[in-house]
């Protein structure tokens, strides 16, 4: 998977963050996060994670939502290999920070010199989804304006819908050999 193709990464991220793809693009961090994950765990494992996700989506299409969720839990979050990576990607979106993978993971699947804790950028901190999720603003950035503290926070509704349409589009494009 090339760094220039963020759509597969976005489809998975939409599913696991419960934010809409629109909100993920709105952070302005798509490329930076994709590059972060890619360099911290390597392209092969990332590709395996995304393929697993896509397979689950396609195979559970038309079935009850609980079926897809159950398979996500078993095959991704319950996987020794994919689980920690998936959790790290969620944290990355929410706080703009990459956390070092557990030692057990590195010992089993390979250590990487880039797998160290770091804040992706100042903008990544300000664009963390956690701020939107709690209806607050990042301290020291994106000030909400004079007197705004007098109003209660607005907590957004979560999309929480499967990204099946995106997954299918990615598949179609891949089959047609289109570079997106």
């Amino acid at each position: 998977m090339s760094i220039e193709d963020p759509h597969r990464f976005l489809a998975f991220s939409t599913e696991v963050t419960a934010f809409a793809t629109f909100d993920l693009w709105a952070t302005g961090q798509v490329e930076a996060y994709l590059a972060t994950v890619n360099s911290a765990i390597g392209g092969a494992i990332l590709a395996e994670l995304l393929s697993t996700y896509e397979k689950i989506c396609l195979e559970t299409e038309g079935q009850a939502l609980s079926e897809r969720k159950a398979r996500l839990r078993r095959q991704i979050f319950g996987s020794e290999k994919l689980g920690p990576v998936a959790r790290n990607i969620i944290k990355l979106w929410y706080v703009g920070t990459w956390y070092e993978l557990p030692t057990a993971w590195s010992e089993a699947f390979g250590a990487n010199p880039k797998d160290v804790p770091f804040v992706v950028s100042a903008a990544a901190y300000a664009e963390g989804l956690m701020w939107k999720a709690i209806g607050a603003h990042p301290a020291g950035a994106k000030a909400p304006g004079y007197g705004s503290w007098a109003s209660p926070p607005t907590i957004p509704a979560f999309a929480g819908e499967p990204a099946i349409a995106q997954v299918k589009e990615v598949q179609v494009n891949r089959n047609e050999g289109l570079a997106r």
Binding site: A122, A123, P144
Partner: protein, 368 residues
């Protein structure tokens, strides 16, 4: 036709157009500002932000002028927000102002908006023909084919109008300044101003208000700095163009201050003058909804400002968080790729429909 303002109704209509004109510059400035990638181009961000805030001040000053003579500011009137691109006068010719990313070309248009210029002779109005569908700013009320030679001439006509009508009224033992003093918006209601907001109650304060608008924008009168020793907008844009700061004692076109650099690549290539209809609703439902709700929220905001300018200035304080919200919403749109557009990004379309319901509500609430 006469290029002078001879009736109070004509003056009121000119001041409505002044509000429209001042507002019309804000969406283009904000679009360019938020198209700049976060963390880059700090100089350009600072200039664009300051200019946008001062345009908001000018809008409020125009409302004060209108209120001073017993007018009713109405930002919800159909057509108040132009359909972009909109035409503006620039001497013998005109130019189009668009909602576009921050580029060298956009900056050239911004310089034209703020360019100091007055008609060479006494004739301030020129005849121009447009297709019926385009928005033309700075026209003569009631004669859409007649446009002021420049924005400077437009304001000069307003100043003359105030002078003439007040003198006539004085002769008859009256005054044109019959507006309710409580409708004036002053600094206590206006956050982070861009200048002091004083009440307009007589010919002296009216002229002072008009001068402030002209000087901050164009540096009218030939100076590059205004009374408060602040650089006029035109020269702030010129700084970005030349990548060099002006300092006191500099002359127009020759800044001698520190240099800086503009990174023209650190900008989201938003689609110029994007319309809601250009977004595929089926393919990008989230994007479509976000753009639509921005327009709806903005229309409500204009309703809120209308109430504030109609006797409830305290509402302006509530409007502040809303403006910061617009910053976030615009940023969200601008960072979203626009599918099937050849690599362009989305943006807020500022399509504010003829929302009669909203308008009526705003006016009624203001009157209540």
């Amino acid at each position: 036709m006469s290029d002078t303002i001879t009736t109070i109704d004509a003056l009121k209509e000119h001041l409505y157009l002044a509000m429209q004109l001042e507002h019309a510059t804000i969406p283009p400035y904000l679009t360019a500002l938020y198209s700049i990638k976060p963390g880059t181009n700090v100089d350009a961000v600072q200039v664009l932000r300051v200019v946008a805030v001062e345009e908001m001040l000018h809008l409020t000053i125009a409302a004060n002028l209108l209120n001073a003579i017993g007018g009713t500011p109405d930002l919800t009137r159909p057509g108040f927000v132009p359909s972009y691109p909109a035409h503006l006068p620039d001497g013998e010719t005109d130019f189009k102002v668009s909602l576009a990313p921050f580029t060298k070309e956009t900056l050239a248009i911004f310089k034209k908006i703020e360019r100091p210029r007055l008609a060479p002779g006494s004739k301030k109005l020129v005849k121009r023909l447009y297709r019926g569908s385009v928005t033309v700013l700075g026209t003569y009320p009631g004669a859409d084919d007649m446009q002021y030679y420049s924005i400077g001439d437009f304001y000069a006509a307003i100043e003359d109008g105030f002078d003439r009508l007040e003198k006539e009224a004085k002769v008859a033992g009256k005054t044109i300044f019959i507006g309710d003093r409580k409708r004036q918006v002053t600094s206590e209601y206006y956050y982070s101003g861009g200048g002091e907001l004083f009440p307009v109650t007589d010919i002296g304060s009216a002229k002072k208000a008009i001068r402030l608008v002209m000087e901050q924008g164009e540096g009218a009168g030939g100076g590059i700095y205004d009374h408060e020793r602040e650089l006029a907008h035109y020269y702030r844009f010129d700084e970005l163009d030349r990548e060099r700061y002006y300092q006191p004692e500099d002359t127009a076109g020759h800044p001698t201050g520190p240099t800086f650099s503009v990174d023209w690549h650190a900008v989201y290539p938003v689609k110029t003058d994007l319309k809601l209809g250009d977004i595929d609703r089926k393919k990008s439902p989230e994007l479509y909804e976000a753009a639509l709700s921005f327009n709806q929220t903005y229309a409500e905001f204009l309703g809120q400002l209308t109430q504030a300018f109609n006797g409830q200035p305290q509402l302006l304080l509530q409007a502040v968080p809303r403006m910061f919200e617009f910053r976030n919403l615009m940023g969200d749109l601008i960072r979203n790729p626009l599918p099937d557009s050849g690599g362009h990004y989305a943006m807020a379309t500022f399509e504010i429909g003829d929302n009669q319901v909203l308008r009526t509500v705003a006016i009624e609430e203001a009157g209540a």
